[in-house]
């Protein structure tokens, strides 16, 4: 089994015009989908990120500089993620295609998790 990260992207300029009840329905769809994956042993973790809140940090002249707002450079934001287990790339993609996130202009980025380098670094550190 391999691990994959599903990054849930959306266009920050397209705020869906949903009523409170519709919004609840959308959240229920995500949670039900996550629960079903978990029951199949395919979900490792998932989180919803708070919309519209965040900071960016980078070094400027060697000093960390914090800027309010994650969205300075892009109209694309990440609203949350699922970390999943899948047999292979095809299964990871099939799971992503079934995701309730695929509505409006939303899109899902499927990324294989790289555990090899980390495991090798860990081995070297413990034998050093």
């Amino acid at each position: 089994m391999a691990q994959y990260m599903l990054l849930l992207h959306r266009d920050r300029n397209r705020v869906p015009n949903l009523s409170g009840e519709e919004m609840k329905e959308v959240i229920r769809r995500y949670t039900a989908w996550g629960d079903a994956l978990r029951q199949k042993g395919k979900l490792i973790s998932s989180e919803k990120l708070a919309p519209g809140r965040g900071w960016t940090v980078r070094l400027q002249d060697g000093q960390p500089l914090v800027i309010d707002g994650p969205y300075a450079e892009t109209k694309d934001v990440i609203g949350g993620y699922y970390l999943i287990e899948a047999e292979n790339d095809a299964e990871a993609q099939a799971i992503a295609k079934d995701s309730p996130h695929l509505w409006s202009t939303n899109w899902v980025e499927v990324r294989p998790v790289d555990r090899m380098v980390v495991a090798e670094a860990r081995r070297q550190s413990t034998t050093a």
Binding site: Q3, M5, K24, L49, A50, L102, V108, V118, A121, S125
Partner: protein, 126 residues
């Protein structure tokens, strides 16, 4: 305590051509940092994402379609993430400022995002 996600942004493939030894050396810096956070009870999770093999799923004519995505022309990709515990935004910021990701390349940066408490989200939707 609250949870925050640190999304580690970078220029695509900036570390692809590095010799294996250099790559391992860099990985160890993240690992040492993460281990010390874990010892303080501040680390919830984290993964390194593979530089290649990413796919992009979008709805086209009502059907989900997978493609290689915008990676060819992307100027920014996420190379990995950490989920941390912090008592407030200031502490999350202090932890992010100390992350080795920032010093490894001048084009690297971190995005700090508060995580919503899912028990509250679920309660509100039920």
């Amino acid at each position: 305590m609250a949870q925050y996600m640190l999304l580690l942004h970078q220029v695509p493939h900036y570390n692809m051509d590095l010799p294996r030894e250099k790559m391992l050396e860099m990985t160890k810096r993240y690992m040492t940092w993460a281990d010390s956070l874990r010892q303080k009870g501040k680390l919830v999770g984290g993964e390194k994402l593979a530089a290649g093999g990413g796919r992009h799923i979008k709805v086209k004519d009502g059907k989900p379609v997978a493609s290689d995505g915008p990676y060819a022309e992307a100027k920014d990709v996420i190379g990995g993430y950490f989920v941390i515990e912090a008592k407030d935004a200031a502490e999350a910021e202090a932890i992010a400022k100390d992350c080795p990701h920032l010093a490894l390349s001048p084009t690297n940066w971190a995005e700090i995002r508060p995580i919503e408490d899912m028990s509250q989200v679920r309660a509100a939707a039920s």
